[in-house]
């Protein structure tokens, strides 16, 4: 019965299945996918690791630093926007996990505490790693960056050795948490066709077949309503005996308009990311030195770990507190509790998070992009001296940054409106929406102000 049903055929731009295109369908079903991208990525990762751990000590001479922090880190949020969480399918850490699992894996079930507190652990790790980058200088120190990568490698090796599938990626990886949130804004969505899945009892997509393993991130396309944990590895496409899986293009942020089960920890992470974008911007501003001196005088110590921790805590608390206050005000209109509103509307600022993150890193990508070629040439014995690493001028970068923030602003605003509309009666919609609109305006203005000030480089 199930096999007789097929996904409906519609125009791709109006939500039709991308697998209607034969080339995409063949690629997804190929046994070489995603390996054909995964293995070269692992090789590149090994080169990066070699450079970071054994290459030049100075960040601006190190190809590993350039590829990691000038190319990969800025490209990652852009990838999430266009391809959802596809990066995680080809991530070298995931490949290492799979390799270790294949040879020595014990495939034990995910520990219960990880299932219960996984996202909080990710939140804490994300905060800790950002903090440690500033205090111990991970980005500016190639060896430090290498150590961070080694820690992640140790994590995936331990996870792949003992636990099933990609436990680390789903429940521990800090980037996985970030990608989960960002992938919700993504334009690519993979879902089962409800009418077909309803009649299916095989669950091959989850369990796996001889064609491909089951979903590495423990998702079940039959009931999946979010792209947060779909890495588009195409295992389910290969496994489904009924051709139920659809890959569709959707408007950016669309998923955020209809979150079925909003979670406090995810909403909290979205506010935290906003704070982290603030702190990343603030510490790269030329006025940061003056601010630090003022803070040192105020707290009576020159210990950077202390002064930065205070700045960091303030930067994170600003959006969290503002979201809390806004949720309390909105509660006056929609009669929901502060926590309910915080959890529901926290998702609205994800679009602005993504925009701020891309805009911040666009500076590094475009103002320092050529350093990738210079450091690669240096590896081949060709030194380049005195040349600018900028790909485009500062005016162009700022123009793009403002444009991105404007897009993020509109997307967040619209998301807040849609969330308000989906949960409230007509009368309460505008009363609920207005405080969040004001919050998004405030956060946008803060972002724009930070991008107006001159920034220091990474390399």
């Amino acid at each position: 019965m199930a096999a007789e049903l097929k996904p409906s055929y519609r125009n791709i731009l109006s939500g039709g299945n991308l697998l209607q295109i034969k080339a995409i369908d063949r690629l997804m079903r190929s046994k070489w996918f995603p390996g054909i991208i995964q293995w070269p990525t692992l090789l590149l990762f090994m080169l990066i690791m070699f450079q970071l751990l054994l290459g030049p000590d100075s960040a601006h001479d190190n190809l590993g630093t350039a590829l990691t922090w000038v190319l990969w880190w800025p490209l990652i949020p852009i990838l999430f926007l266009f391809l959802g969480r596809f990066w995680c399918a080809i991530c070298p850490f995931a490949t290492i996990n799979d390799l270790v699992q294949k040879f020595v894996g014990n495939n034990r079930p995910v520990p219960r505490f990880l299932k219960k507190y996984g996202i909080w652990i990710i939140d804490a790790l994300f905060i800790f790693i950002t903090w440690s980058d500033h205090v111990w200088g991970v980005v500016e120190n190639p060896f430090g960056s290498g150590i961070l990568m080694l820690m992640l490698t140790t994590g995936v090796i331990a996870s792949g050795s003992f636990f099933e599938r990609r436990t680390f990626c789903r429940y521990v990886c800090f980037l996985g948490g970030l990608s989960g949130n960002y992938a919700r804004t993504g334009m690519l969505a993979l879902r089962g066709t409800p009418e077909i899945c309803a009649t299916c009892t095989a669950a091959s997509c989850f369990k796996g077949t001889d064609k491909a393993p089951g979903c590495p991130l423990f998702e079940f396309p039959k009931t999946m309503s979010s792209s947060a944990n779909c890495v588009i590895c195409a295992a389910c496409i290969k496994n489904c005996p009924n051709d139920s899986i659809q890959l569709t293009v959707r408007p950016p942020t669309r998923e955020l308009w209809f979150i079925r089960k909003p979670r406090m920890e995810e909403a909290f992470l979205s506010a935290v990311i906003m704070g982290i974008v603030f702190v990343q911007n603030v510490t790269m501003l030329e006025v940061w030195g003056a601010m630090l001196k003022w803070l040192e005088k105020a707290v009576g110590t020159t210990n950077y770990a202390i002064t930065f921790s205070i700045t960091f805590a303030i930067a994170i608390l600003i959006p969290v507190t503002l979201l809390g206050i806004t949720s309390w005000i909105a509660g006056k209109f929609n009669k929901s509790s502060l926590l309910e509103n915080f959890t529901r509307f926290g998702y609205a600022i994800i679009a602005l998070d993504v925009a701020g993150h891309i805009a911040h890193n666009l500076f590094h990508l475009l103002a320092e992009g050529k350093s990738i070629f210079y450091t690669a040439l240096a590896l081949l014995g060709q030194e380049v001296h005195g040349a600018s690493p900028a790909v485009v001028g500062m005016e162009t970068i700022q123009f793009l940054q403002y444009g991105l923030i404007a897009l993020g602003f509109v997307a967040s605003l619209y998301t807040a409106y849609r969330i308000a509309r989906s949960h409230q009666t007509t009368g309460a919609v505008w009363g609920t929406f207005a405080p969040y609109a004001a919050l998004i305006v405030v956060l946008t203005v803060m972002n724009i102000y930070l991008f107006m000030l001159p920034m220091a480089m990474r390399m």
């Binding site: 751990l53 000590d57 100075s58 960040a59 601006h60 001479d61 270790v100 040879f103 020595v104 894996g105 014990n106 034990r108 520990p111 205090v135 111990w136 200088g137 500016e140 120190n141 060896f143 430090g144 150590i147 080694l150 820690m151 490698t153 140790t154 994590g155 090796i157 331990a158 996870s159 050795s161 003992f162 636990f163 001196k293 040192e296 005088k297 020159t302 210990n303 950077y304 770990a305 210079y374 030194e383 380049v384 001296h385 005195g386 040349a387 220091a456 480089m457 390399m459």
Partner: protein, 213 residues
């Protein structure tokens, strides 16, 4: 036994995480508040690094106080770093009233504007540089950023002009380098090998148990 086997992965997982963290932290941990100290003609000179001495960027702080313990402000302070090599003459302790020579310097580059320039790296190994350091925000402190290319022992000379004379304070600084980094890398290798080996043994044991059943 079965219970132990059940707990073992979690234990090893935790151990792996804990083990990798302290090593990393030690490798990069900062705030060596106790600097190196020297007395020169009644002046007390303290040389310290904002963080632990390391290859690459170091924010150095020189603190000068007079015999009364009062901070010496607005002095002209310069600093030179020279790596100690075999056959290198040991500098005299507490030498005074010398004219600083701008001799050959290796292994040290001043940091400009908080980040390196391609030009800076060009001269990374050979440039003879005497670095003038600016007054810090605390009275009697002088701060500068230097990039130490190599690890190992450095002779550091601090020259300061006070009341018309130039004084020199000599220090020895040890910059931990490849040794510490190698230790960190071996630690990771050890932990990961241990994890993989344990997992392999456990898998074999569980396969044997299944085979017996």
């Amino acid at each position: 036994m079965r219970r132990f086997l059940h707990l073992f992965p979690a234990l090893l997982f935790t151990l792996a995480a804990l083990f990798s963290f302290p090593v990393t932290v030690l490798a990069g941990e900062g705030d060596d508040v106790h600097g190196l100290e020297v007395d020169v003609n009644g002046y007390h000179v303290v040389l310290s690094s904002h963080d632990e001495w390391q290859r690459g960027k170091n924010v150095i702080v020189v603190t000068i106080t007079d015999s009364m313990g009062m901070p010496v402000e607005q002095a002209d302070v310069e600093i030179m770093f020279a790596p100690v090599t075999k056959g290198h003459a040991e500098p005299e302790e507490d030498s005074h009233d010398v004219e600083p020579g701008h001799g050959s310097m290796t292994g040290m580059e001043p940091e400009e504007d908080g980040h390196d320039t391609p030009e800076a790296s060009e001269h990374e190994e050979e440039t003879p540089t005497m670095l003038a350091i600016q007054e810090g925000h605390e009275p009697g402190t002088y701060e500068a950023e230097v990039r130490l290319v190599n690890s190992g022992e450095y002779d550091v000379q601090v020259f300061f002009h006070v009341t018309g004379e130039m004084l020199q304070a000599d220090f020895k600084v040890n910059v931990p380098g490849a040794g510490a980094q190698t230790l960190v890398l071996w630690s990771f290798l050890l932990v990961n090998t241990l994890v993989i080996t344990s997992a392999g043994v456990m898998r074999k044991q569980s396969q044997n148990v299944k085979g017996m059943n």
